[in-house]
Amino acid sequence: MSGFAYRRRKIASIVVLGLCASSAFVAVGVLALILGFVLLNGINYLNLDFFTHMPTPLGEPGGGVANSIVGSLLIIGVAALIGIPVGVGAGVFLSEYAGARLGNIMRFTADVLTGVPSIVVGVFVYSVVVLKMGHFSALAAGIALAIIMLPIVARSSEEMLKLVPRSQREAALALGITRWRTILSVIIPAARRGLVTGGLLAVARAGGETAPLMFTALGNRFWSLSVTGGPIDALPLRIWRYGIGPYDEWHQQAWAASFVLVLVVLAISLAARLVLTRR
């Protein structure tokens, strides 16, 4: 009797654990399915023109998205220039200066900001930057992405700075080094790998964002290198416009652009992990 009950429990255990294992493989399978589809579809339409040429007028085959790639780089550059220093600074404040109460309020704020939908950030930047400037620009788009990066960088920097052993701080202070020198020359260098990882992950996250760019960069079929001058294109925006457009040539370019975007985002995420684990 008890042997039967035991066997039943054993079988139930195996069945449920089997279901758990299959869910893990379902999750990975979905990834493989999507990634495989995007990569296979994208590589078919990829060629050198894609990187070096401008979009062609409607109906003409060929052409590329050189302007979108340059625009994306420009926007991400602006975003990183603003978001990473401010984020790391906020992380330093959280880990080195903030008291318990202020620290908790700020951590909570950072978590809320991380959770704010990116399209809301786009609306916000539209009203505080685009309306004030009078036109769309790479600067506005960069500010929007910086706002998305800021809380991510701040929280990850704080964690990484906290990992620096207390003894290192005390040793520096005991040598009579001032606190700000300690922070700049001892603590930040000791945590630099973690800081780089946080920055890279934030760039990967921001680089794939489309929604905040719709109301800040707007998109532009022509060449633009100006940060403040006017509408500018970005790769995710181009995927969106081509993807929902009616022409086959557009769809093919959207797949090729997706291929590039996915590879870049995954490569940055991978690099971020490698920086942290390399000895």
Partner: protein, 327 residues
């Protein structure tokens, strides 16, 4: 100075307590700079809330609370009600959670409790990669793969014959609530899995060993010792997944099909707050219209705030460090 007064009074602790004593000009300056950078987070959040309220004032004045319950969204007649968008946001997210939560928990249990180490890290890595896929790329995949699949294999199949059930009523467009729910499920799956796995791994081994020592099977250990121990953390994982689903824009906009009616059917085109913003904000031509759209953004931000408070309360209840939740 009280340096000698006890072993625990360290230089760093002292410096924290009395920065003005030890400080020189550089210290004062750096403290101010870092405080300014840190407080920029707070300022940003406050400014964002203020600006959204300010910009939605026309809509708030015109419709009041009725904005939340109004079912007409009619730019031509200048009447705006957010109920269909709010309904679409909630329903698509609930569909996503119903599909994703069981799979995520199963995957997290596998990763945390069952997988051998050589399998654990590559699988975790792959699932995290799924989280890094840009939303517009998932939207493109949804548009050209998922939507036709839903149309041909779900809506035209046996479920299509069940159209007397309101849930499955409607023409087989492919675009609609079901497609949106499916794509959202794919997007929140890796997020919930990653957090749930971290939370489960934080359960002390002694809990499992005690249960095993009582003669429990492996599943009984998980059910009796692991899951109850980290219940709050798992709830927080689901809530954060929900937060992501509610605000997700691009992929949903591309597959939901832009419909403004509240219907029970999963096959009908619908819209969410975020998808309405994405498709109409650049085309809004007059103040009240823009204002109504910004109020949708304000509602989204309000929901985010509430969910974060809820997640935070759950996490505090078990006094877990919030780091696990943040990423």
């Amino acid at each position: 100075m009280h340096v000698g007064r006890g072993g625990s009074t360290t230089a760093a602790a002292l410096a924290r307590r009395r920065p003005w004593r030890i400080g020189n000009l550089g210290d004062a300056l750096s403290r101010t700079v870092f405080a300014g950078l840190g407080l920029s987070l707070l300022a940003l959040a406050l400014l964002m809330a203020y600006e959204l309220v300010l910009e939605s004032r026309h809509s708030i004045r015109a419709f009041g609370w009725g904005f939340l319950t109004g079912t007409r969204w009619d730019p031509v007649d200048q009447v705006f009600g957010a109920a269909p968008a709010i309904y679409g946001t909630l329903v698509s997210s609930v569909i996503a959670l119903m599909l994703a939560v069981p799979v995520s928990l199963g995957a997290a249990i596998f990763l945390s409790e069952m997988a051998p180490p050589w399998l654990r890290s590559p699988l975790s890595f792959l699932i995290e990669m799924l989280a890094a896929l840009p939303s517009v790329v998932l939207g493109l995949w949804g548009l050209y793969v998922l939507v036709p699949w839903v149309r041909d294999f779900v809506e035209k199949s046996s479920l299509g014959h069940l159209s007397f059930i309101p849930l499955f009523d409607g023409p087989p467009f492919g675009f609609g609530m079901l497609a949106a729910g499916l794509i959202l499920a794919i997007m929140v799956l890796p997020i919930i899995t990653a957090i749930a796995r971290d939370v489960m791994q934080a359960v002390p081994t002694s809990q499992r060993e005690a249960m095993l020592a009582l003669g429990a099977t492996r599943w009984e250990v998980i059910l009796g010792a692991v899951l109850p121990y980290c219940r709050s953390g798992l709830m927080a994982a689901v809530i954060l997944g929900l937060g992501r689903a509610l605000g997700e824009t691009m992929a949903v906009t591309m597959v939901i099909g832009k419909g403004y009616n509240i219907t029970a059917s999963l096959f009908q085109p619908a819209s969410t707050a975020a998808s309405t913003l994405a498709s109409e904000f650049n085309e809004a031509t007059y103040n009240l219209y823009i204002s109504a759209l910004v109020e949708l953004a304000l509602i989204l931000m309000g929901i985010t705030l509430l969910l974060n408070i809820l997640a935070r309360l759950l996490v505090w209840r078990v006094a877990r460090s919030p780091e696990v939740i943040a990423e």
